[in-house]
């Protein structure tokens, strides 16, 4: 019985793999027949375009591959701090919804309902136009604190630049020197964090409410204050239940970062779009984006799975 089921499984796998290979070979054949150049060789040719902002010093003469890497780093640069921020805000808002204080509870639920029920793309566009419409022009930047400027061109802060540690100062078309967080980056950070945090808040609230009411009552009967009962008894149990859906929200945040192209942030998808147009390699550029997202999501899922295992192991029998 088991042997035969293995044979069936092996057959199914062989058919699936065979179909994939057939699809790839036939597509490549037809592309060639129609005079469409295909292949990944374009990755090693000069990109010919630059990124508006990048953690790598990429130039138009650098390879397309390097531009893709810079785009991926930009994605991570928005998604990773965004995830940390989302987790923090989500925990606060989740507890806020459980608070005894009606004002805190009302504010938290208003936030969760508003941000969960508006499409993320609209939120990103709204944040972007708030940042670029309402802030002063770059040549009239707000001087928030010594060396910190805020304007349509973004937030300039002191940082290491080409000439060592730099304090931003007005010059050129706006503010020169230091590090600048562009409105595109700030929008991604704020938009992604607030959107995902609303979901995380709901997950945490649900996890706490799902605990048997006896847990809280028992803790109170032992003389714990409501706060201690919440932190020492309810939270550790709720956290275990909440961990898988919360990590799945953080993964969603990473995938949602691909909306960056709508507001002009040079992420992986944006670089792929530009390369697609320069080279016409539509399938190839798409495959790269799919593969990168799939790979990183799988890695993140594996990490969160191990985390869950460890949390569950600590569970009392």
């Amino acid at each position: 019985m088991r042997a035969s089921s293995r044979v069936v499984q092996a057959l199914i796998l062989a058919v699936v793999v065979g179909l994939c290979v057939l699809l790839a070979v036939t597509t490549a054949g037809h592309l060639e027949q129609r005079g469409i150049r295909s292949g990944f060789d374009f990755l090693l040719e000069p990109a010919g375009f630059t990124l508006g902002e990048s953690m790598l010093p990429v130039d138009a003469a650098d390879s397309t591959l390097l531009a893709f890497v810079a785009g991926l780093l930009n994605t991570l640069r928005a998604a990773l701090p965004g995830a940390a921020l989302a987790l923090g805000i989500g925990i606060l808002a989740g507890f806020g919804r459980l608070a005894d204080n009606p004002l805190v509870r009302g504010l938290a639920s208003a936030y969760v309902n508003a941000f969960r029920n508006i499409p993320l793309l609209l939120q990103l566009l709204a944040w972007y136009f708030i940042l670029t419409d309402l802030l002063p022009a770059a040549d009239a930047a707000m001087h928030l604190a010594p060396g910190i400027f805020l304007s349509k061109s973004g937030l300039s802060v002191p940082w290491w630049g080409e000439t060592g540690f730099e304090i931003p100062e007005p010059g050129g078309f706006g503010i020169d020197g230091g590090a600048r967080l562009t409105p595109e980056y700030l929008t991604m950070l704020i938009g992604l964090a607030l959107y995902s945090a609303a979901y995380i808040a709901e997950t945490l609230r649900a996890a706490v409410l799902a605990l048997p009411p006896g847990q809280r009552l028992a803790a109170l009967a032992l003389g714990m204050s409501p706060r201690r009962a919440f932190i020492d008894v309810l939270l550790p149990q709720a956290w275990r239940a909440a961990l898988p859906p919360v990590t799945s929200q953080l993964l969603n945040l990473f995938k949602n970062a691909s909306l960056a192209v709508a507001i002009g942030y040079p992420d992986l998808v944006s670089v792929a779009g530009t390369s697609l147009n320069q080279t016409g390699r539509a399938i190839e550029c798409l495959v790269i984006v799919i593969a990168v997202y799939l790979l990183l999501s799988l890695v993140a899922a594996a990490i969160s799975h191990r985390l869950e295992q460890r949390t569950l192991q600590g569970r009392p029998a």
Binding site: I36, T132, D176, A282
Partner: protein, 339 residues
């Protein structure tokens, strides 16, 4: 993104299932009774739907002329609005018969994308729009500037080429959608906006809060010959599109206008006679009838009329003829001889 996904997958599937059908484009159009024309999602003057949902523009009129030539009716066109990322895939996969979508003719595109450009319908070039407040009068003063640009065009490459030559660093801010890029520029996010000069004229005239606050810089940093493309592997269809466009240009040179097509059939000029199918039958070599060119001009007018109506003196854009004047009127528009 989602639209790109769908189309690319559609292209992959189409290439997977459908055998190449060389020489069958015209048959397909005739049996469908419709020309599938890929246009932009909205570039005023070239291809844009008006308030009644009618497609208008120079690129649109080219498709209407071809529909008139091959189907006898300029209205038998199915308009397929395509983003700049979708356009080549849509043509390769056979979703459209012709891509008439302000697309630059370049070596890479002509040689590597499985398509053929047919003829140039508009000679354009890339320029810059800046706010007068910046006091910039030349692109060379844009050092350190942030420049808003729409993705999926040749624009980004030209931008980086030009400023590398000048030894100046600028920062592109690349948007997916035209509307978003324009909005960002006029809200003051960027110091300059770059795209083809024809579009800059439109953007300044129609999108700026106050056109007088903005100025188009004198530098034209690239050559952008725009023209329709067809799929490779169908030489018959390629010839029809190429020669219909040449006919529109030749009609202007010969003085054949939309209103005078019928009256000129009595003209003693042999070139005019040939054009209108009175004497020789030029249509036969193309697999069309003898009145194909006459029908095209009667439907949309000659090139000069198309130009003036959509982008020239009679349009809101008021673009000068410039390079797009006839070769004997100071331009470089030169129809191949119809004989």
């Amino acid at each position: 993104m989602s639209r790109i996904h769908v189309l690319t997958i559609a292209a992959a599937l189409a290439t997977f299932t459908a055998p190449a059908h060389a020489g069958k484009t015209l048959d397909g159009i005739k049996s469908r009774g419709q020309l599938a024309c890929g246009v932009s999602t909205g570039v005023i003057g070239f291809s844009a739907a008006d308030s009644q949902g009618q497609w208008r523009g120079l690129d649109v009129d080219v498709c209407r002329a071809i529909a008139a030539a091959v189907l006898g009716d300029a209205n038998k066109v199915r308009w397929v609005p395509l983003s700049s990322q979708q356009r080549f895939t849509a043509l390769q996969s056979g979703e459209v018969d012709i891509l008439s979508r302000n697309t630059t003719w370049s070596l890479t595109r002509d040689a590597a994308l499985g398509l053929h450009f047919t003829a140039v319908t508009y000679y354009d070039g890339q320029g810059f729009l800046v706010s007068k407040k910046t006091r910039v009068t030349s692109a060379k003063q844009l050092k350190g500037a942030e420049i808003c640009v729409q993705s999926g065009t040749t624009t980004e490459k030209n931008l980086s080429d030009y400023f590398r030559t000048q030894g100046i660093k600028v920062k592109p801010v690349v948007f997916d959608k035209f509307e978003a890029s324009i909005k960002a520029f006029f809200s003051g996010r960027c110091q300059a906006y770059t795209t083809d000069a024809s579009a800059l004229a439109f953007i300044r005239a129609k999108e700026a809060p106050n056109p007088d606050d903005y100025v188009v810089l004198p530098e034209i940093i690239s050559k952008e010959p725009l023209g329709p493309a067809v799929r490779r592997g169908d030489d018959e269809w390629f010839a029809i599109v190429k020669w219909t466009i040449n006919a529109l240009i030749e009609a202007e040179e010969l003085g054949i206008t939309q209103g005078k097509v019928d009256a000129l059939k009595g003209s003693p000029d042999p070139s005019v006679q040939r054009f209108l199918g009175v004497g020789e039958d030029l249509g036969k070599s193309l697999g069309l009838d003898r009145e194909w060119a006459a029908r095209a001009v009667k439907a949309v007018g000659n090139y000069g009329e198309i130009f003036n109506r959509n982008v020239g003196a009679d349009s809101p854009l008021k673009l000068p003829r410039g390079l797009n004047a006839q070769w004997n009127k100071g331009g470089i528009l030169y129809s191949l001889p119809l004989r």
